[in-house]
Subunit: 140 residues, 3 copies
């Protein structure tokens, strides 16, 4: 964790656009939170033709959902939301009003990575956690 | 936002049923919350054959998950849950015990639409937010 | 509810592995929470080739996400996280560092099953709820 999921209409993205989005979202999250990149995941799926509706009628949507550990500041979240929107605009070319983004908190102890319950998002807790992972030979 | 996601077994829904569900969920949400319809999204995906289990054995499920801004009353949520269930029953014909629905809150400031952080779900905050969107030429 | 969703790279799991994972996750949840198995759901989906990234580069991930009613102890959650990790390791053979798991709380009244708002996770509330379901002829 964090995990970002990006859903777009079928056929909207090619491999290069997915690569640019994944690299961009990873960079934004790392710069805004100082989280180490090896733990930042971005996945993509597609909404099939006829499977997206807005206001009850068929319409395309570009949906980015992030799940991050609770404890970041609201300024950090706002920066991620704002920069991700600009990235999605630039890479997809989708109209602004079709782009929805969420960045949701979850308590660190609700998730695990490599079998290790996540640390609080503080430098001390993260350093101790990374030591544990390294001692177990589980560092990426 | 709000965003409702509906997952059904592969092949259960045709285009007409998706349209009826999307229109119905949009109407329910709009009537119960007074949210403007242009911001209500419904998306559909399918669970592939052999990919759904209940009690550890293969079984179909009809899963509707909504994410809405925090601040609605519990009566509003209960009405959405109850009416969505009746709608799903009617449109899918699926047995009641296969239908699970959730309507989860998230704080307004955790999400954006067209690049604008969502307003609190009050008439005043929403009016100001819509004015911002209009001024930026981003109204749907 | 509870609902567990497992996402794996396309082609990683065959039908037998999905069956073992579904049975194992169901058993873990039932043993750790005493929830009745007929209400435990596990669904699977696949990440298409080129749709998963870690640290901004293509990489496989095995992602398990559970949503459970709030009110369980942190020991219960930790046991589910720990045992699910061991199960995923054993059944998928995936490297530990590719496996991420979350078990997220939601308030009982935010979801329904067979049209009935979920009870608090206490024996008394659950017994009364099951009586209601049975009276309505909706028991699985």
């Amino acid at each position: 964790m964090p995990l970002y999921e990006c859903s777009t209409p079928s056929g909207m993205l090619d491999a290069d656009q997915r690569q640019r989005l994944a690299a961009g979202i990873t960079r934004i999250h790392a710069e805004e939170t100082q989280a180490p990149e090896p733990f930042i995941r971005v996945v993509f799926d597609e909404l099939a033709e006829g499977c997206g509706f807005t206001a009850g009628v068929p319409a395309p949507s570009v949906i980015l959902r992030g799940g991050i550990r609770a404890g970041r500041s609201e300024d950090t979240r706002r920066a991620i939301l704002t920069r991700s929107f600009e990235l999605l605009r630039e890479v997809t070319g989708a109209p602004a009003e079709t782009i929805v983004i969420s960045v949701m908190d979850f308590p660190s102890q609700w998730a695990s990575e490599a079998g290790f319950i996540l640390p609080e998002p503080t430098p001390e807790a993260e350093a101790a956690w990374l030591d544990d992972l390294e001692a177990a030979g589980k560092t990426a």
